[in-house]
Symmetry: C2
Subunit: 260 residues, 2 copies
């Protein structure tokens, strides 16, 4: 299959590299030509930065840009690719954002967190496809199957739920790690001491119900420790961390108070 990528960020880069194994990446578009070239060079594609350079002889155009930019991108490219299947890769953007401007609209959403310098295990990454046209849905499903064992046809509503859940499971848990690191850094304690704890917590939550795996002073309703730890945060002028500590502890306490 012949594929064009719009965007040259983390998602575009990882997708292009993975798709290149079995398909042809024809063009990489970015408003910043240097960004386009950086990715295009890796996947033997043509780098472009003008919409009128878009080649309509492709099977699929993937918009992999920030959610905020998807609408302006589809508006600016649809007239050059009127009959091409065009998809976005966003969890929280509805299919209709494309479909309002373009009839062959679709979604190709990988549920994973991407960093430039880390390999992605595509075979295990869940992929969610959606399309306005039945034929395009079949095409996207086939394409997704060429990357991953875990392919699902999900509606925009289901995808939104997943993405919201992922914000808690991934973005917020990572921020918990970040806050944990700030706390030990301030006392010259080595953050790597917490690595076994972080990995065991994640392992537990993916092998059991995380509610049943909850531990800590808030779950036990240990008011002395809760008070002492809030005091420690207040002492170091970290009101931001203190507020999060209070709200998270309250949430955990209320969730477990009737369980004893």
């Amino acid at each position: 299959m012949k594929i064009t990528l719009i965007g040259a960020g983390r998602v575009a880069t990882h997708l292009a590299r993975a798709l290149k194994q079995q398909h042809q990446i024809v063009q990489v578009f970015s408003r910043d030509l240097q960004h386009a070239e950086t990715l295009a060079d890796q996947v033997n594609a043509q780098a472009i930065n003008q919409v009128n350079q878009l080649d309509p002889h492709v099977d699929l155009v993937i918009i992999a840009v920030s959610d905020q930019a998807i609408f302006s991108v589809i508006e600016s490219i649809t007239s050059y690719l009127p009959d091409n299947l065009i998809v976005h890769t966003s969890g929280s953007t509805s299919l209709s954002v494309l479909q309002n401007s373009h009839y062959r609209a679709g979604v190709f959403y990988p549920l994973q967190t991407f960093s430039f310098d880390r390999e992605v295990n595509w075979a295990e990454t869940p992929l969610f496809v959606e399309a306005a046209e039945q034929q395009d849905l079949a095409f996207l499903t086939e394409l997704a199957n060429s990357l991953s064992h875990r392919v699902y046809q999900y509606s925009s509503k289901q995808r939104q739920t997943l993405h919201l859940s992922a914000v808690f499971a991934c973005n917020f848990s990572n921020y918990c790690y970040d806050m944990a690191k700030q706390i030990v850094d301030a006392e010259q304690v080595d953050f790597s001491l917490l690595y076994p704890l972080i990995m065991e917590t994640a392992n537990k939550a993916t092998q059991n119900d995380p509610k049943q795996m909850q531990t800590g002073p808030a779950m036990r309703g240990d008011q002395n420790i809760l008070k002492m730890q809030r005091h420690l945060l207040a002492e170091t002028q970290r009101n931001d961390l203190e507020n999060i500590y209070a709200l998270m502890s309250e949430g955990i306490y209320k969730r477990h108070i009737n369980q004893e």
Copy 2:
């Protein structure tokens, strides 16, 4: 070495099982004799539930009970074990809580989260020891080395910092998973779809600075998605999750706003 355990909960159980490999567990004390027996049977020890049954012919007494109970335990046992080394296993309880009642006081703190039905990798679990007497510190260090490659002599203040950090890295990240599961459960979406994301997020944070690994709408300052996701939570009457969503997103946004 001859060791007695006070307590029969998760920490006491995992510690007793691990110590039994190279040492002798003499007694297991619990106010609930059945709890004491359950653990004592696993480690060939005597189960007791009366303080006057405590055998003073041991090298170490480990108090592995909830933080709140440590003070009353030391008060009730010190007269029966006046010359024994007695330690607690708590991150946030100061050495002085024991030392005020007992001269040979110490701490033996494993930085890990314990569940009844999961094996603990003791060799990789960081252990933190502290003692009032130099000789006891050397003894605890030797004992810790018999369990783990990662043994540290930490003050009560350093241990408190570590434990506070662990609450964020472990208890709060687990609650993020729990909230994520509640969100997908409400829409009959399978939580296991998020497993690769959870594991990759934890892996990233233990191989890089979690601040640099942050992703998501709050970090990008994507107000449309932030508004939409808060609305989704409000719609489902989950004000508790909405409040946490708002506070965490604000924290992430502020931490990254000056980075672009």
